[in-house]
């Protein structure tokens, strides 16, 4: 029995989710492929966004997939780190901006 919920090799089995619902699975993967095609944004830019989001949602599969994807596209570690810091800033900011709420309540309740 596996000692971890996450197994790296499971990433390659992502497509197998279609086995239990081919119709919705196909729709999802078609959509997924379309999203990452070059549009107004380049595939490279989309890869960096995906990496940042992967860190925000803390998905080990996605972090594996989009670090590798970035390497394959020639994205440098400095660019990856900047993108991840954007995720960190938004995540940290989302916590800190709620301080305003705390301050409002504190001030309201305080004499």
């Amino acid at each position: 029995m596996s000692k971890s919920y996450y197994q790296p090799e499971d990433l390659l089995k992502f497509g197998s989710i279609n086995e239990w619902n081919p119709e919705l699975g196909k729709k999802f993967f078609d959509y997924y492929q379309s999203v990452f095609k070059k549009g107004t944004l380049s595939e490279r830019e989309k890869s960096l966004i995906a990496l940042a989001v992967a860190h925000t949602i803390q998905c080990p599969y996605c972090i594996d997939a989009y670090t590798t994807d970035g390497l394959e596209r020639g994205i440098e570690k400095e660019e990856m780190m900047e993108a991840i810091h954007v995720a960190g800033a938004i995540r940290g900011g989302a916590s800190l901006v709620h301080t305003v709420q705390a301050m409002n309540i504190y001030n309201k309740l305080s004499m």
């Binding site: 070059k38 380049s42 390497l71 394959e72 596209r73 440098e76």
Partner: protein, 352 residues
């Protein structure tokens, strides 16, 4: 990552082609965890790989090189003395002329370091070969004063230059090819531009080659070409024609890296999972024959390094028989997955 000596000079076990082939056939392939290349072809109902019309004669004229790149499949370097003799060079040209070969693709090592390089190019031009490609590592053009006039020599003989530049920034390039390689490569590209290479309307072509710096595959050749062009133009005023993305094949120094870094199984799994059956009909082994410095014939430069001779009674440039060679089956092993992954890989970049 750059090593200072060839695997051969280090007496590394992987300098032995047989050991490499054993490694590629054992482990995960022997246990059935991954299908062999032959099994993969069969599962896609693809027959053995047969050649089409021969268009390219690729000559490896010697293993000597001024660089010792970390990924080099030739295991080339300053300590390698093997080189093609003048009589063998002449035989290659006779074959190319007789069979109206479209392209002579000259590689090494650094082919410019061969003592008869210039003589050979002049003879090849006299033999009226339509296209002559030189696979230049760029730094050789700035390595010594005796090579400084090579851009003019290339121009005079209308040679098509193809050069590795692993990245458009210094760090990655120097990690793969050695300290100082990036700056010298940039200087060499500027010199090539000065004589007209890469500039519109000159007909002088300089193409660059990108290959990954690690255990991952290349992708997005078109987009990467745009980035290279933009960065090299903005930062250094450099122009070039095409960028080719080439997959690192699991042989020689790159195989050594894969094993030493614990990436061998993961990389082979990636290659197998990325197998694209539509690449098979366009592989370079279908229109190319590779000739080693000692005149033997191979399906490709990689098979040459693995000492997998062509499967034909005509197996040397001195007994070249077109009919016999055209009827052969291409020799395959698990390294062939490197040419069939994703959009495919060849000496001219992707194949589909």
């Amino acid at each position: 990552m750059s090593t200072k000596k060839s695997l051969k000079a280090q007496n590394n076990v992987l300098s032995d082609a047989k050991k490499q082939l054993q490694l590629l056939s054992n482990s995960i392939f022997l246990s059935g965890q991954l299908p062999t290349f032959s099994q993969k072809l069969q599962s896609h109902k693809l027959p053995s790989i047969k050649p089409k019309q021969l268009e390219i004669l690729q000559l490896n004229i010697g293993y000597m090189c001024n660089q010792v790149c970390a990924h080099c499949h030739v295991d080339a370097g300053p300590d390698r003395k093997e080189k093609m003799s003048k009589p063998t060079m002449s035989q290659c040209l006779q074959v190319a002329h007789k069979h109206k070969i479209k392209t002579l693709d000259i590689t090494g090592g650094a082919p410019e370091m061969h003592p008869d390089f210039r003589w050979f190019i002049k003879e090849a031009k006299a033999a009226e070969i339509p296209e002559i490609i030189i696979r230049s590592n760029l730094t050789i053009l700035r390595a010594n004063k005796k090579y400084y006039d090579l851009p003019d020599f290339f121009k005079e003989h209308q040679l098509h230059i193809i050069s590795s530049l692993p990245f458009y920034r210094r760090g990655k390039t120097d990690r793969q090819r050695g300290d100082g390689v990036f700056n010298k490569s940039i200087e060499a590209l500027q010199k090539l531009n000065e004589v007209g290479y890469g500039l519109q309307g000159t007909g002088l072509e300089i193409d660059l080659v990108y290959n990954p710096l690690g255990a991952y595959l290349p992708r997005g050749q078109e987009e990467l070409e745009e980035e290279y062009k933009h960065a090299l133009r903005e930062d250094f005023g450099i122009e070039f024609n095409n960028l080719y993305c080439i997959t690192n094949l699991p042989i020689s120094r790159f195989l050594d890296f894969l094993v030493a870094s614990g990436n061998f199984e993961g990389y082979m799994t990636k290659l197998v999972n990325a197998f694209n059956p539509s690449t098979v009909g366009n592989l370079m082994c279908t229109n190319t024959i590779s000739v080693s410095y000692d005149g033997y014939l191979y399906d490709c430069d990689f098979n040459q390094m693995l000492e997998l001779n062509v499967s034909s009674k005509s197996n040397h440039i001195s007994n070249f028989e077109m009919d016999a060679l055209q009827n052969r089956n291409v020799c395959i092993s698990q390294h062939c997955y490197g040419c069939t992954a994703g959009a495919g890989s060849s000496c001219q970049g992707t194949v589909v």
